[in-house]
Symmetry: C2
Subunit: 482 residues, 2 copies
């Protein structure tokens, strides 16, 4: 039942990872596995949560991870898996309760295998996403997951949170890029599931359950990942559109002309582009007068095709259809990078400005224009706010962020956050959308999940959690209330 605690014994029945527990664990692992707990492990990027302390352990192998989990299971000590620490919903820090083991994957850094002819790469959980991308590139392959935090996030956490990014519309989310896992389950058993198979119907899909479980059902220690051919010809363009509906029509036009060749399709608002100058960010939108809306589109085409030429064709077709009036097609790698840099700086501009409330939402594509209109009205009714709506339009995921009026700070409106969030999420619910498209639940959205989650699904989740982690040691307080 929604709201009921998952466990008969709540978090207070966990033991701290100090004293006798620590002493015992130190007899089971090499000295090198223990690290001084520096402040970074207790922080998360949004500053909403702070870890209260813990025993930092950085295992070097899956067997060492299993030793840690077994010890924690035996002693009923909480475990917070820690990857790159880049998660945006507080999944990586435990602010309350007895001090946990903070289990860092930073020493699980091997790329175990690379099978280019099979389009498979096997990496340990501590390998960063950028390292996976680079290893694939070195083998003339593409690992197409691409996020802002890719230099820091580690693949175990990336999978555990089912990260998304800019290429989901073509290649899928992290979960969809994973063929198999090796993981330590909450009782310390190791699941050796590192298959390199595209088809395997031998029992329940534990892989896809662990992907997105945010460390609450076990710790991913290694993963088999899907690789793809590198597109021979890549092109990027920033096209002005009159409104979000035109952006969707342009997406459909691009899809019908280019099929699977559209790798990214990002909606950018004039408001967001304006924030770049307002907050003194390095880049600027390449327009004298900022348009109301623009689309950043990237194509990845095969040998014998010319992405730049196709973008020009697309623009001309869009012009004829009244979908776009202006734009910039990158004519060099440097220009491509500049367009993406602008897109990537918008979240930085948002951070410098400081939002009243931010929402990582997804909606069925066809309702997005209507949602944006209604949400704009709702938010305007709540106060003199500005809205920056931008993001991965191609897969229905928008970052819908509400800001103070120009010249006024978010502190003035801090007390309005909950009300704004409630109004936005309620509208998202009306439109059968999601209150967390890619960031996950973590600790930040536990209440939102209880509020908006389907009751039968929540009951099933609690039953699964209780079954796999009856002592509630895995990332206590994340996803489900402890």
């Amino acid at each position: 039942m929604p709201g009921s605690p998952c466990h008969a014994d709540p978090m207070s029945d966990l033991n701290p990872a100090t004293g006798p527990f620590e002493q015992t664990l130190r007899t089971k692992l090499p000295e090198a596995a223990f690290r001084a707990l520096t402040p970074g492990y207790l922080e998360e990027p949004r500053g909403l949560f702070r870890g209260q302390g813990g025993l930092l352990v950085a295992p070097r192998s899956t067997e060492e991870v299993a030793t840690v989990i077994r010890a924690c299971a035996t002693a009923r000590v909480g475990v917070v898996p820690y990857g790159g620490g880049t998660g945006l919903v507080g999944g990586q820090v435990m602010p309350e309760g007895p001090a946990p083991v903070i289990l860092s994957t930073e020493r699980l850094t091997a790329i175990r295998a690379l099978h280019p002819s099979e389009n498979v790469l096997v990496a340990e959980a501590g390998v960063t996403l950028a390292e996976v991308q680079n290893a694939a590139e070195a083998a003339d392959r593409l690992f197409p997951l691409s996020l802002a935090s890719e230099g820091s996030c580690r693949i175990g956490g990336t999978l555990a949170t089912n990260a998304g990014g800019v290429n989901v519309l073509r290649y899928g989310t992290a979960r969809e890029l994973c063929l198999g896992l090796e993981a330590v389950l909450p009782d310390g058993q190791v699941w050796h599931g590192l298959k390199r198979l595209r088809k395997d119907n031998t029992g329940y899909d534990l892989r896809d359950l662990l992907c997105g479980a945010e460390g609450t059902l076990g710790v991913i220690t290694a993963a088999s990942l899907r690789l793809f051919p590198r597109p021979a010809s890549v092109g990027t363009a920033l096209l002005v559109v009159p409104d979000p509906q035109a952006a969707l029509d342009l997406l459909a036009l691009a899809g019908s002309r280019l099929g699977g060749g559209v790798s990214a399709f990002e909606l950018i608002s004039g408001t967001g582009m304006g924030f770049l100058a307002e907050t003194d960010c390095p880049t600027r939108a390449p327009f004298v007068t900022l348009p109301g809306w623009a689309v950043l589109i990237e194509l990845g085409l095969g040998a014998g095709q010319d992405a730049e030429a196709e973008l020009l064709n697309l623009f001309e077709a869009a012009q004829e259809a009244g979908l776009s009036s202006d734009g910039v097609i990158a004519q060099s790698e440097a220009q491509r990078a500049a367009l993406w840099q602008m897109r990537e700086e918008i979240p930085e501009a948002n951070r410098r400005l400081g939002s009243v409330s931010s929402h990582d939402i997804s909606l069925p594509l066809s309702v997005i224009p209507e949602f944006l209109r209604r949400a704009g009205e709702v938010v305007a009714g709540l106060g003199p706010f500005r809205v920056n709506a931008f993001g991965h339009l191609g897969d229905g995921n928008l970052h819908y962020n509400v800001f103070p009026p120009k010249g006024r700070g978010k502190a003035e409106f801090a007390g309005r956050r909950a009300e704004v969030a409630e109004a936005v999420y309620a509208l998202v619910q009306d439109y059968d959308g999601s209150f967390s498209a890619e960031h996950g639940v973590g600790r930040l959205k536990v209440g939102d999940l209880e509020r908006f989650g389907d009751p039968a699904k929540l009951a099933a989740m609690r039953a699964i959690k209780q079954a796999l982690d009856p002592q509630g040691i895995m990332n206590p307080g994340a996803v489900l209330r402890a």
Copy 2:
């Protein structure tokens, strides 16, 4: 622990769906929901299992399905979900134990919604796969799941078994084509999860858990499905290759030239082509002298591309590389259909001949040639057998089927089946393959799952089953021993 019963109370603690239970259920559902139990509902295509009887119920709505499940949960009566009855591992019939409710989805036949601009179709569980394909086509879209049984299999069962088929290498398995589910869980609660969202990180991935759970964790009542653009230009060719390694090299060549344009890539053995004449099947391979191996390749390309021309280019490049010496490129729709008909008749030829043992396996792509060599040696060492190895090479899934020598029947070798299967599966295990690539576990492979499944995964599966279906009413005896 492998081999231990999942439930404290085994199947014998279930009650039969007769007498008082039936009377009570008849007060809760309209008369039209009850059907006479005709023999078809107790049969499965391979004739290995036969249902022992039961109460046939065909609900008309999700609410009626929930009523049935609730009643069964209350009375501790088994439920066998029944879709098209086409499954190949005995998941649709319960040969032992108290008579179950046979819950047919045949009246859940609505296509609830079609959103072409979003590339989403929502169908109830009883809609056949062919009906889904046709509805998509009528909206100028493609639902790319394609199986031999598509005229009969119903989408609920297709998802519950995570069916594969010929297009997996490009479009993925059934699970990957599903965005959301509506399902009745074993306690009778309805999970309303029919999202049309590509990204939704709000809790555990119950959708992907139910897909492939073969009816043992709940009954799928409706699904949101992904649609794709219809390729503007489709081409099919049958190319002779000297050996399986050359087939893999040809696959790589096709991928590098055509990227995501390869929709199907099937390996066909000369042995299999020979079976067509041997068993008087209508079609013949289009070769005077049967080659040892051939590949059936299908391309689906965008507007402005010419699939036939690309196939010719591919063949010429393959010739230069020594990968192919001969072939047929279809020059008309009729010729395309004829090539596929030949491919589709090989399983019929297999059936007419009668195999000693059949194996639906998958292997990492790069080991397939070595596996085929070693397996051939192993099988030859067991007896004068013939091997027909064919199938979805593009995704690593082979149907590795062992036959008697020409002129002798399978009955003579019936006692050798277990030995042959054991030898083949042991070799598959050595190569990190799967003993059930697409058919699933059902009742047929429960023992194989216990034997070859990862112990930690099996323990987690049993815990999940116990958590979601503590009374063991859902498809008792399928996937996990009751």
